[in-house]
Amino acid sequence: MTTVMEKKTETGRLVPGTPLLEVRDLHVEFKTRDGIAKAVNGVNYSVAAGETLAVLGESGSGKSVTAQTIMGILDMPPGRVASGEILFRGQDMLKMSGEERRQIRGQKIAMIFQDALSSLNPVLSVGYQLGEMFRVHRGASRKEAKAKAIELMDRVRIPAAAQRVGDYPHQFSGGMRQRIMIAMALALEPDLIIADEPTTALDVTVQAQVMDLLAELQAEYHMGLILITHDLGVVADVADKIAVMYAGRIVETAPVHQLYANPAHPYTKGLLRSIPRLDQKGEELYAIKGLPPNLLKVPAGCAFNPRCDAATDLCRTETPALHQVMDKDGAELAGRRSACHLWKETLHG
């Protein structure tokens, strides 16, 4: 199905760095009783094999809707892709037939959801749900599928996999359930995994374990990983680059350490300041003032302007483009973009 030449490793995996997914100017809206809610207003991001992209943003900023659109599991209606392109290994998935897209789901792109308990089918055993991937996509027999399911459960380090393969989701702990979701996503060794807040519903102690497991498996299979989160703390260790979303738009993208050290957008700056830190114990935690905008009525100009301390008149009328960010000498910083009129002042000022 690929038109471009792609390099493969001897195990048949794509060589790290091979472009996998590119979302271009994606717009998604929902028809609601009160009007059209513009949930995604021009998202641009890309991820390559072996790379981890963290998508960051407050709740309601359109992270999940973007992911669902990529997966082809958006609720339509009320949802609608208004415009844009989603290139997967060079081909626009939005132009594919339903059957072509189904062949990609699960086999080439897999997804891990936030709440494993509700995302797993309560009345089917985990072994059945894991094995189903092999039975449907690989024509495996019941017995083969069960063996594969046990193998997968071992892979994600579920103790006593062979005994537990017939158990049901409610019989596992939250962390174990999320491991099962990871195993299911991993089953057919996809090129790309989208993990939508995979640790948000878990206890803090289990969060790190699950995150480590995900990162380890991703490295092993050279998969691309889109890690959606609203928790800046989670991403620092695992992500290669970050895309910050606000009101359905990417407002800043940057390699992870550059973004932490030197944000080029006031919203990112605010997010970073609001992370609790050990050395500021006792001080009141910073919070960005105001609330995210109503998607039925996104403010004119920069959507962030009502909450931005640096806002000027220009910000209230003119929507900022996603500018290429440059260093003090005017040299382009690779992978760095900011949708702020005042990115220079924010970065260097």
Binding site: R105, G106, N121, V123, L124, E132, V136, H170, M184
Partner: protein, 308 residues
């Protein structure tokens, strides 16, 4: 699982004893003297009546009579009718007819109820869904005898597809119309219940997962959606099986089917206690068995239910 079944079987004993006792005593307070009725219009000699009563054990205290009766039941002896036939023969002639009628109605109810509910639920808000809601509401509000009469008029008198009443009570084709009439009310309930359940489950997170796994739509609906949506429907079907058998007795009279309803009607008219009690004992056993099967099925469908 084995312990669950054993416990349920033990629980059935008091239920069985209670219901049969209740019916036994109720039959005995029915107006009319069955022994006197044996002599028809002729005035009987009081001594003869008393002798007959003694022979039938009817002069014993009621409780004593019940104990004797249950003792016989345990050995499979259902007693004799007032007409000196074996009650067990009357039951084995009538029961298969009613069971067949009930099962046919049940089949109609399950197959069409679930299918209609499924399609309505998947096409929520569309014409088919709206039509289903209106028609099922109509079915629910029409009394069964009226519906029976309506069906007789349309299919027998107008279209001449069938005879208005059943000639051969064991003939599948002839039982079809009564079965549809009998099952239609339940069908309406099942369709509505299935629809609601489908609508609730179709947006569930696990459905999104099933689609994200790249499963074909057939499998997403057939395996993931239906399995979950059927849980409340199965519960209803279990309780409904009993109601259906009760309804069968009414439907039989509309279509002149020679089943339990017919036999019970005659037995009650003749104050024939042994026959009525015998039928009730068998019916109670059937209900209890049905409800056990449904409970087991329920637990199979929903692993979150434990056999505690």
């Amino acid at each position: 699982m084995g312990r669950f079944v054993a416990r349920r079987l033990l629980q059935m004993i008091p239920v069985f004893l209670g219901t049969t006792a209740l019916i036994f005593f109720m039959v005995h307070v029915l107006p009319g003297d069955p022994v006197a009725a044996m002599w028809g219009d002729k005035a009987a000699d009081p001594a003869q009546l008393a002798a007959k009563r003694h022979q039938l054990g009817l002069d014993q205290p009621l409780l004593q009579q019940y104990v004797t009766y249950m003792g016989h039941l345990l050995t499979g002896d259902f007693g004799t009718t007032m007409g000196q036939r074996k009650v067990i023969d009357v039951i084995s002639a009538a029961m298969p007819v009613t069971v067949r009628l009930t099962l046919m109605a049940f089949g109609v109810e399950v197959v069409f109820g679930v299918l209609i509910g499924l399609f309505a639920g998947l096409r929520r808000g569309k014409a088919f869904d709206k039509g289903t809601l209106v028609i099922t509401l109509l079915l629910i509000s029409i009394p069964v005898p009226v519906l029976g009469f309506l069906f007789q008029t349309v299919f027998a008198d107008q279209l001449k597809l069938v005879t208005p009443t059943v000639q051969d009570s064991m003939n599948f084709g002839q039982l079809l119309l009564p079965a549809v009439v009998l099952g239609s009310l339940s069908l309406a309930y099942v369709a509505r219940l299935t629809r609601t359940s489908i609508v609730e489950n179709v947006r569930a997170d696990y459905m999104r997962t099933a689609v994200a796994k790249g499963l074909p739509r057939r499998r997403v609906i057939g395996t993931h959606l239906l399995r979950n949506s059927m849980i409340p429907v199965i519960t209803f079907l279990g309780t409904d099986l009993g109601a259906l058998m009760g309804g069968a007795i009414v439907t039989e009279s509309i279509f002149n089917v020679k089943g339990v309803g017919n036999a019970m009607y005659h037995a009650i008219n003749q104050s024939d206690g042994a026959t009525v009690s015998g039928f009730v004992a068998v019916l109670v056993l059937v209900f209890l068995a049905a409800s056990l099967i449904v409970d087991l099925l329920y637990a199979v469908l929903d692993p979150r239910i434990r056999y505690a």
